[in-house]
Symmetry: C2
Subunit: 214 residues, 2 copies
């Protein structure tokens, strides 16, 4: 399925890197651990990093009700959520053609506060599951008081696009003979051995064995 | 040295995680491979991922002159640059206290186009060196034509703050006895074996041996 480009999501430059493919967009959203949310507070732009989760075609964000920034996010403001996964450093012979391999998604729209208690609970479950699949069945679920202290907002993933750069450096013809190493240094986020909290006696749960993303 | 808090950088919640320490701010800026830049285009927020570099107390960003978004960035607009390094997943007994270990920086200000040719060249060198220290001496430097095609903007790092979360989960007293594994899964960005471009015959340069960040 393809999303419809809008004036904001239409790729103007390097359009060959752009995509409106919902499967690709969802895969990037799901693999990335966190996102950056941009919105205006008192007319000035603020960008905050936060965990996100997707349920079908909705993106959920959450935070403390006491958080002034998140409160303005729930005020039906215009937002841009950008999600970026770095895949490699691209070293060209020329400084000019250095680049980065990445997969990114931008979602534009208006965030709305989730008031429905069932949807809110599903979103909070999804946020825990987004971080570690399987964790939701273990962790103590939110109490009513914790639910009240938590603000959840929803953003539809319908005005969105992906951008992907992959592959090696693209040098100019006349630079190919330069004696300069060129290529890609692949990168990814990796996870170390789980470190139990002081009083924990139970074994590391199976969903943390070989934990990885994407 | 400490920066002076402003209405935008003063931490309101979890202030114990906040810092105005220039050394800490610079260390996060230098370690992070790329940043997210938020600004308004036609009154609507856009957040783009891009490589950055620091020279002393200035943050530099660059892109193609033909890039409409970057052009508006150079138009002396109000921007927020957010830089985030993920250090670990924090799994608490309760879903509510799940968290993430991270180090982040927010820089607010007004971006300005760099017109001075020497400063522009220094900034472009710094951008290459930011990605791979030592690379600047190898890569073919930008030609005059490449310089003209590249837009460089500068943002002073004076209205800025850092936020750091480290350590294990902080569970409520009454949850400590629950039979739920709790702890931290550390994470970091790791780099794989450099993959040479097809025509490259020279050996992998020493600055890529054991390449790592931070």
């Amino acid at each position: 399925m393809q999303l419809t480009p809008t004036s904001r999501t239409q790729h103007r430059r390097l359009a060959e890197r752009g995509s409106f493919d919902v499967e690709l967009i969802n895969a990037i959203v799901d693999e990335a651990m966190f996102c950056h949310v941009g919105f205006a507070v008192d007319g000035r732009t603020v960008v905050i990093p936060t965990i996100h989760a997707r349920v079908d075609d909705q993106l959920y964000l959450h935070g403390a009700v006491a958080n002034a920034m998140l409160k303005s996010l729930a005020d039906a403001v215009d937002v841009c959520v950008t999600i970026t996964i770095a895949d490699g450093l691209v070293l060209a012979r020329s400084a000019f053609h250095h680049s980065m391999n990445y997969r990114s998604v931008m979602v534009f729209g208006t965030a709305a506060r989730v008031d429905d208690i069932d949807e809110k609970r599903r979103a909070l479950d999804a946020l825990v599951e987004h971080v570690v699949a399987g964790r939701g069945a273990d962790a103590r679920p939110p109490t009513e008081s914790e639910m009240r202290k938590t603000l959840v907002v929803r953003l539809p993933i319908n005005e969105a696009s992906a951008k992907v750069r992959r592959g090696g450096p693209v040098d100019d013809e006349e630079d190919l003979s330069l004696d300069v190493w060129a290529g890609v240094v692949p990168c990814q986020i990796t996870f170390g051995t789980p470190e139990p909290a002081p009083e924990v006696e139970s074994a590391v749960p199976p969903y943390l064995d070989q934990y990885t993303r994407g």
